[in-house]
Assembly symmetry: none
Homo-oligomer: 232 residues x 2
DNA sequence: AATTGTATGGGGTAAACACCCCAATGATTA
DNA sequence: TAATCATTGGGGTGTTTACCCCATACAATT
């Protein structure tokens, strides 16, 4: 969460506090790993005493293993790797070493991948296509706890809002809510109890990440999730 | 409220319950009054023992006086009358004889007049231009407590929604409500107390005749009362 | 000078909402 | 067969609405 510390080895123990960052590099191409390692270890890249690459791996499972072993400050991760993909690695890393910052490099920018990574909580997401300058610039901030998603990926997320998979009942409920129906009216309309409507409503709000009906309406209208013919 | 009853005379007293409707007819033309009376008293027009016209008047003040005196079940009222117009008569009738059904005949269909009458609570509103058949048909239902506004007037109201004059504060509040702000947030945003926001909010709902935020939103969006750029 | 309208708020209240926990169905899927 | 998910719903709770009454202050009208 802060500076280079907590780099432990035996699963539970933790290292001495020291002003150095430890990193694991994961990429299936040895050449790329070498390049990344050299760049990371270049003095002056980050504050304090720089970064030390404590492990290099070429597949996902190894990446997870090394992170569990070293609990590094940073995992530099290529999405396309054998044995375990970027997202699975992320999840495991989060489980076993929550304080490890995960920076992902990706060549592809599929919506699914990007949003999965962001939801899994990547700390950094950059394109392999462009130069790595951007990543190197942002790295210090990331290590301090900031998140950096390259603009192109933010754009992708923006243009491709999660369809927000609503169940039938939730969608029906949404339509009625937006038409100004109260929970009681909806319950009567759908022939179910108020409590159930209440449940659907709460699920809706959580799925759509809103906290009030007006926000719900604005979102639903914008996303075209409902008929424009809003008759009361 | 139900059948022909409560037709009292001396201001406070009330008549014996009987299955007969009592009516007052108000129109400034004697010929019209006669025609209306004949039609009303025609047997079989309404259930029970028909209608008895207990008074005919040619001006608004007399209409009010007769209604106070007889407390009839029905007041058949022409809008254009000397001394007191249709709306004023309505208001007074409502005050002095709340159970009297007021059916208004009008030649003009000005928006202001129509909406005033409807808001004052006319029980029936029909055009003098067309035949009175429609009114005679609806009369039984009106006497039972239903309201009937001729479709042409409903259309007028529909096409001519009240501009709803909102004050500055109300408009500001509306804009914030629609953006999903809670009363507390609005209060902080405007630098006033929650109670005042609450007041504005209530005023809004009443002016716009809605009872829930979604209805408020839909109306505001439809009327273009707010910016379409609904950003949360 | 008296009324009306806007804006400000305190007290109070019943209803509605948002959300928590828990539990029991079926249907789908692993 | 076990696990997941959608749907249903009861208990319960703190917050927010919507609206009531009342009162003050100030400006614009009448």
């Amino acid at each position: 969460m802060s500076s280079g510390t907590l780099v432990g080895l035996p699963e539970g123990m933790q290292r001495l506090k020291q002003d150095r960052y430890y990193a694991v590099v994961a990429d299936d191409h040895a050449i790329v790993r070498a390049g990344l390692r050299d760049a990371l270890e270049k003095p002056g890249l980050v504050e304090h005493d720089g970064i030390e690459v404590v492990a290099e791996v070429g597949d996902g499972l190894s990446a997870i293993a090394e992170v569990r072993k070293h609990r590094p400050d940073l995992l530099l991760l290529d999405v396309s790797m054998p044995l375990a993909g970027g997202v699975e690695v992320m999840v495991e890393v989060r489980r076993w070493s929550p304080d490890t910052k995960v920076v992902v490099l990706t060549g592809v920018s599929a919506v699914g991948l990007v949003s999965d990574l962001v939801e899994a909580g990547v700390d950094g997401l950059f394109s392999k296509a462009s130069s790595n300058e951007e990543m190197y610039e942002k790295l210090p901030n990331i290590l301090r706890g900031r998140r950096h998603i390259a603009k192109q990926f933010l754009d992708i997320l923006e243009e491709n809002p999660k369809p927000a998979i609503l169940t039938d009942r939730e969608r029906q409920t949404l339509n009625l809510i937006i038409r100004g129906r109260s929970n009681k009216e909806i319950a009567e309309g759908l022939g179910i109890s108020i409590k159930t409507v209440d449940k659907h409503r709460t699920s809706l709000m959580q799925k759509l990440k809103v906290h009030s009906v007006p926000q719900l309406m604005a979102l639903a209208l914008k996303e075209g999730m409902i008929d424009a013919s809003l008759e009361l």
